[in-house]
Symmetry: C2
Subunit: 867 residues, 2 copies
């Protein structure tokens, strides 16, 4: 009935139909709007006659009469197209007031001030939207009146002032329109209806419809509804209630009320509202009726309701009901309990919890009641709250952190060099970089709070201080961050610990019953792997071997390997790294017994393992000029030379991924050998493991052929050496557009594909994730050139098309090819949904996002069934 | 007949069939090979009988007899499969020699040394390939013999030494094989034929066939051909001739001959050969026969022939004919004249000239006869030769160059900051960067010689010297480069000037008759545009507006604009640049009257207009430590701060292209206004111009919508201001994979697309063109992982697929969408061919490559018609 009654009208009718006591009213249909325009923009008399007729019904239902001196009916008039539309006339309240009825209202509410203020507001609103007299002219008079009375705020105006104001308003109306302000309620009504219909064709509404391709013919309805007042004595009142506790989810009516009051009184805070439970003693009948209605509404909407009500002279009126907002915790509990109560199905319960909400439940949060001194806001990069002493350097952080001090690492941005500093820090705060910057990715992987891209921070490493707006923060000062909102707060803040409630665990179990996608985790250590299993991951989708190279015991050897002048020197260094890598893989594979573990061979450019080029430039220049330490200068010069040699203009498009394995194939061979050796050892120990060796950054089948031969040759060698038969899979990342285009050829050589959607997004858009955020991507989103940050949710129209091409290409050659995703998108709900839609086999994300992915995967599967 | 006779056999038969006097011979078919294997790897007697039978025919034709003591027939035996195959037995020469026949040969040739040397070689060759006695054992005996006689070279061995050697060889054969060396010519022949068939199934041949998917069943043929000798007296001789001059193309027999000589004598250089024209006097009959044959061969093969011949006792034998190699100049002239002579069609003439050859004709070349001290080799980045005094700094180069000195700019790599240095230099030499590095692209654009990526050069800016192998080159030393080959030469070298011959111009005119693609040029100045028209460009496909920003008179204002703190400051700077830009566009558009000019709005990241970040770091550190010049320090610190701010990890994927127009839309608006103003002015002057405004780096239709609105609004403003109605087109570059994926949506908003295949290659592969070359791309090509450098020729399997997707997408929405290419590939023949194949409308390349593109486009169209 929406087309005929408009959105609001249909809603009112529905509430009435299910037996809710809503204030009586009537709706003038959209057909009347057409009639209005056919009549040359004048309200046809026939319609007004009908309105009068139905108004009598309303009067009867309300027990009041329009213009009555005893108990006058006041109404609201609202427009209501089938699509809500800005620019159209919105609302006139308290229509029906005039010099006589206002007296009755004052008497009935026993509140003269209320009555005259309502009258004054009515004149102002009516004159603005119906008579089209500029609003500011009334505001000017109001300001003058306040000055005259010597008060600052509207609510301080006395009854006399209000009465004076009303006279001044009426004079203004007469001056401006040439006619006195209409006092006949029926005339007021007819003018208001006319104004609603007229507003359908005002400029703003027409432009809006053109822009949004809405037909100009559908017209608007008009809703006329009787006003009710909660301040008509002690048998009246007003309140707001949730059908369950929106904070904890407990199934108990939750809310507050005030007797003899209007909704505004609750907001103004003059009187303290009382808990809804006390209404039981105060008005037992009303309370009983209200609880029944609350139940009925939950049944009807199959969700927790947020209800506004008013009691007028012992009669309960429902003003509004809607699905209630709730905390993450409440969301899970409500869903779980409603399903257990039989009110909804398991599917519905799953659909009721937003996957992103789960995120909050696993991290410490700032006490929502705490007073905070928020000094800046960055990107909410990794949820959870942290407080710590500011440190600007990772070595310093490690020193202090290991000494037991709580530190917060603050950097313009982080690099893999900072890993040891990040590990010991409570949280990370950066002034540059986006949601997928190094700091953000690593922090999410570790489940550590992080705020990044906080551009208003000016970090000065030399002075060891941060300037932000008018604050200066020195090293050692305590700062807190809220990784869920991006807030940066001065000083320590009170925290709340997370709980993994029974409802939470059970909702996820239900999710697993429905989801089609397997959910794996990205993990680089046995500890991560353990965490991943705890969160319900059934495999590791990405082991980043480079993180192992960063360990303090390996880095010197890794650097030696990089600085090697000959292949032999390099091999010597790799000999030392080999047993360490083998142990790394042994640990992870063992932890994941029975589940697949995808191990990606070395990916980042080698310069990431050397000190920063810019730092080296400054250091060597300084050493040269001071002449202080010739030996150190020489050492630094060697590093500088190599760093310059390895320097790339665009490292993201440079010498990395399997390109390293092509030019330095001894590195890849060492890693492959380490995987096979760990596999052989575990197999010998009777532990069933499923390693999957993954080649990154492939662009051509020739690369895959090269590495496949290497993997098989080394496997043969290891099997001969160990006497153990080993099994493994071979696959490739799909992260460059060219890999997508030759997916059919790659599939011939692969057991699996895994999408690296970060890189694929970078190359598809030509957006560097480290550079685009904070430089131009925000502009794109603010200017609505892009709907979303494609590094957060998969860009379906571009990157998504690429993925679909690769899936089609790969499965054309190998129909049972296993395909997954291990980019950051693997833990983002809408992206997980997309992965389900295009038929992937698994998603992989950081351990902390595994529950989110499980829920999102289930929701996608349920949605799929519905369609 | 190739399947039956093999490649060589078929060739010999063909030559005989067209009446050429080739030395008589016979071919044993591939069917005999099958029979050989069916017979258990033994030569069936029936075949040998047939061979004997046909051998008699050969004997009759040759006027010699196998094993005859007077005039013995010697033959060569060669394998000949239908596909040439490494690993199989190749050739045995002089078969038929033994202790008796060698005496006759000595007598007949009047050259005992020749006869015994031939015999010695025959034994060695036969023993190696037929008897399978290791070659090195013969070499050892030979070395010993030389030592014994006290000589260094084979040809110094005396007749007696040769006779002794033959006996030692025979003893070795007896010891190794247990049998004496066969002296019966028929036995020699039968053993040789057996060896050829046997070699079909040796390991190397089998592996080769497996690798190349050649059937093992096709078998090989055997060719037995009589030997002829040019050293049998003064009625004998040997020579080589081209049917036309291979250096100039002149239609005149060109070559040389020697009487009473073998081909080896010509090579050995002991006697000086005489010009072929003198054969006319020496042997008029033979000369007449030879010229007739030469004509016949040109008729037959419809190309210039390179012919080897021998005269034995007054009889002419043709040993080989093939299409002759020739210089670029000859290539064009031969093609043009042959077509004019009616020997070939215009199409054939066009197909006869390789487009890349044209490149040589437009540039100065090093005199091919000069002696050169080549000290290094880099990439042949831009053709032409140049000599100049080495300069390491562009300011210095400009200073010296404007002073009239010839300078050669040597840098590790160049940046847009070096433009003024490049302009005044004779050529550019860099130690880093590939064929599409900045230096290479700019140099090609200017038609200036360039060698880049010359990694063996160690350039030390501080010492102002280059170390290369053992040479040190100081600033001011003269060095030459050859941009066509990549050679770097010490000192000045003699040069040859280019000529644009009539034939050249006409061949290109013919090309224009056939080609379907329009050929435009990339040009940034009116001078470039003039050059482009001269070379036959019918439009400008790419005006890079950023090159204009680099002018010495603009750069300060451009920097001011970049350093601006507010939009107003930026607008002030832009106000100054506007009239300059307008003049730029005015000049180019006017020069290209009647033709389209595609103007791309600002593309590179802004930091390219500021000094280098690394230099600034060193400068500021130095200034800080010395404390010498606080004012300068402050100035540099400001620049450093901005440079750091603009610094990007991956500028190629960063804040550039239309992203600049989104964030600093006042820059784009200024450029758009300048274009419209120039258009209006020219239109007013009655000059018909066709500007096309092009948006770079688009990834979404929303960007295009934004700029289209801006272009149309500013056009409206300019038309109102000027009172002139202007026309223009709007289009986008397609250079990011996402633009390809949304090509259908972009086409709705565009009049044209232009592929930026450099960027598209970079993002499709994830290869930075500046980093990949010299780091890993060479490895890929050396290891055959990629067939070609995708930055040189379009990668059809990857980037090509992308292009096809965009063409299909764009034309689906707008069937008449104009599509072209303006990347570096637009002047590369195989890429031009691809552009033709996928139905593009135009290619655009640097002016100097326009002729190449015209020819390549014609060849593509002709090929197309043929298929």
């Amino acid at each position: 009935m929406k087309a005929l009654l408009g959105g609001k009208g249909a809603n009112l009718a529905e509430m009435t139909n299910i037996g809710l006591p809503v204030p009586p009213g009537l709706t003038i249909t959209t057909e009347a709007c057409s009639a209005y325009y056919e009549n040359g923009g004048k309200l046809p008399e026939a319609i007004m006659n009908e309105v009068k007729e139905y108004l009598e019904v309303v009067e009867k239902q309300a027990g009041k009469k329009f213009g009555d001196l005893e108990n006058p009916l006041l109404v609201s008039v609202r427009s209501g197209a089938s699509i809500s539309m800005p620019g159209m006339m919105d609302t006139v309240l308290n229509l029906g007031l005039n010099e006589e009825t206002v007296v009755s209202v004052a008497k009935n509410t026993n509140n003269e001030r209320f009555a005259y203020d309502a009258y004054r507001r009515f004149i102002q609103m009516f004159s603005d939207v119906v008579l089209e007299i500029p609003k500011h002219e009334f505001e000017d008079i109001l300001t003058e009146q306040k000055k005259e009375q010597g008060v600052d705020f509207d609510q301080e105006l006395s009854v006399d002032s209000l009465k004076a104001l009303i006279q001044k308003y009426k004079k203004l109306v007469l001056d401006e329109s040439g006619k006195p302000f209409p006092s006949d309620p029926l005339e007021q009504l007819s003018l208001a209806i006319d104004a609603v219909f007229r507003s359908w064709n005002n400029d703003r509404a027409i432009i809006y419809r053109n822009l949004n391709k809405i037909s100009h013919d559908i017209g608007t309805a008009v809703n006329v509804q009787s006003m009710v007042f909660g301040n008509m004595g002690n048998d009246s009142g007003t309140g707001v209630a949730f059908t369950r506790n929106p904070s904890t989810g407990e199934n108990l009516l939750y809310g507050e009320f005030l007797t003899n009051a209007q909704g505004e009184d609750v907001v103004a805070g003059i009187r303290t509202p009382r808990p809804i439970s006390e209404l039981k003693d105060e008005m037992p009948e009303i309370y009983k009726q209200f609880t029944e209605i609350a139940n009925m509404l939950e049944q009807k909407y199959q969700d927790m309701q947020d209800i506004e009500f008013t009691i007028e002279r012992g009669r309960l009126y429902m003003l509004q009901t809607r699905n209630g907002k709730r905390t993450a915790q409440a969301s899970v509990r409500v869903a779980y309990e409603m399903a257990n109560e039989g009110l909804i199905t398991k599917e519905q319960a799953i659909m009721m919890v937003e996957p992103d909400q789960l995120n909050q439940l696993l991290h410490r949060q700032i006490d929502p009641n705490a007073e905070l001194n928020v000094i800046a806001k960055g990107l909410p990069a990794s949820p959870g709250a942290a407080s710590g002493h500011v440190v600007f350097d990772s070595d310093e952080a490690e020193f202090l952190g290991k000494g037991g001090k709580k530190v917060l690492l603050v950097r313009t941005e982080t690099t893999p060099d900072d890993i040891h500093g990040i590990i010991v820090s409570q949280g990370i705060l950066t002034s540059r970089g986006g949601m997928t910057s190094h700091a953000a990715v690593v922090a999410r992987g570790m489940g550590k709070p992080c705020v990044c891209g906080c551009e208003s921070l000016v970090v000065d490493y030399n002075k060891k201080e941060i300037t932000v707006n008018n604050y200066k923060i020195k090293e050692g000062d305590v700062v807190s961050i809220d990784g869920a909102t991006g807030r940066v707060i001065l000083g320590e803040v009170p925290m709340k610990d997370p709980e993994m409630a029974e409802e939470y665990i059970n909702i996820l179990k239900w999710a697993d019953e429905f989801k089609k996608l397997t959910v794996r985790a990205n993990a680089d250590t046995p500890e991560d792997a353990r965490k991943a299993r705890m969160f319900g991951a059934t495999g590791i989708g990405l082991v980043r071997t480079e993180h192992m190279f960063m360990g303090q015991d390996r880095l010197p050897h890794v650097q030696k390997m990089i600085l090697a002048e000959t292949v032999d020197e390099r091999k010597d260094a790799l000999e030392i790294i080999l047993p360490m890598q083998k142990e790394d893989f042994y640990g992870i594979l063992k932890e994941m017994e029975g589940f697949p573990v995808t191990i990606r061979l070395l990916d980042p450019p080698l310069h990431e393992f050397l000190p920063n080029l810019e730092d080296l430039l400054v250091e060597t220049t300084t050493l040269k000029l001071t002449g202080a330490d010739p030996e150190k200068l020489e050492e630094k010069m060697t590093l500088l030379k190599k760093a310059k040699n390895l320097h790339e203009f665009n490292p993201m498009l440079g010498h990395r991924g399997c390109r390293l394995g092509i030019t330095y194939n001894e590195i890849y061979e060492m890693q492959i050998r380490a995987i096979h050796m760990a596999n052989a050892e575990l197999t010998q120990e009777g532990i069933k493991v499923y390693p999957e060796i993954e080649i990154p950054l492939t662009v051509d089948a020739s690369e895959m052929r090269f590495f496949k031969a290497m993997i098989e040759r080394v496997a043969q060698e290891v099997m001969e050496e160990s006497g153990v038969n080993i099994e493994y899979k071979i696959g490739t990342m799909i992260e460059m557009p060219r890999a997508v285009l030759v997916a059919d050829e790659l599939a011939e050589l692969c057991d699996f594909f895994s999408f690296g959607t970060n890189d694929l997004t970078q190359t598809t858009f030509g957006f560097s994730r480290d550079d685009s955020q904070g430089k131009f991507l925000q502009h794109y989103i603010e200017m609505k050139l892009l709907k979303e940050d494609p590094f957060i949710a998969i860009d379906r129209r571009g990157v998504g098309k690429m993925m679909l091409l690769a899936v089609e290409g790969g499965r054309r050659t190998k129909p049972d090819l296993e395909i997954g995703i291990c980019g950051e998108h693997g833990g983002e709900p809408s992206s997980v949904e997309f992965c389900h839609e295009i038929g992937l086999n698994f998603v992989s994300c950081s351990p902390y996002r595994v529950p989110i992915a499980r829920l999102a995967a289930a929701r996608a599967a349920i949605n799929d069934k519905k369609n």
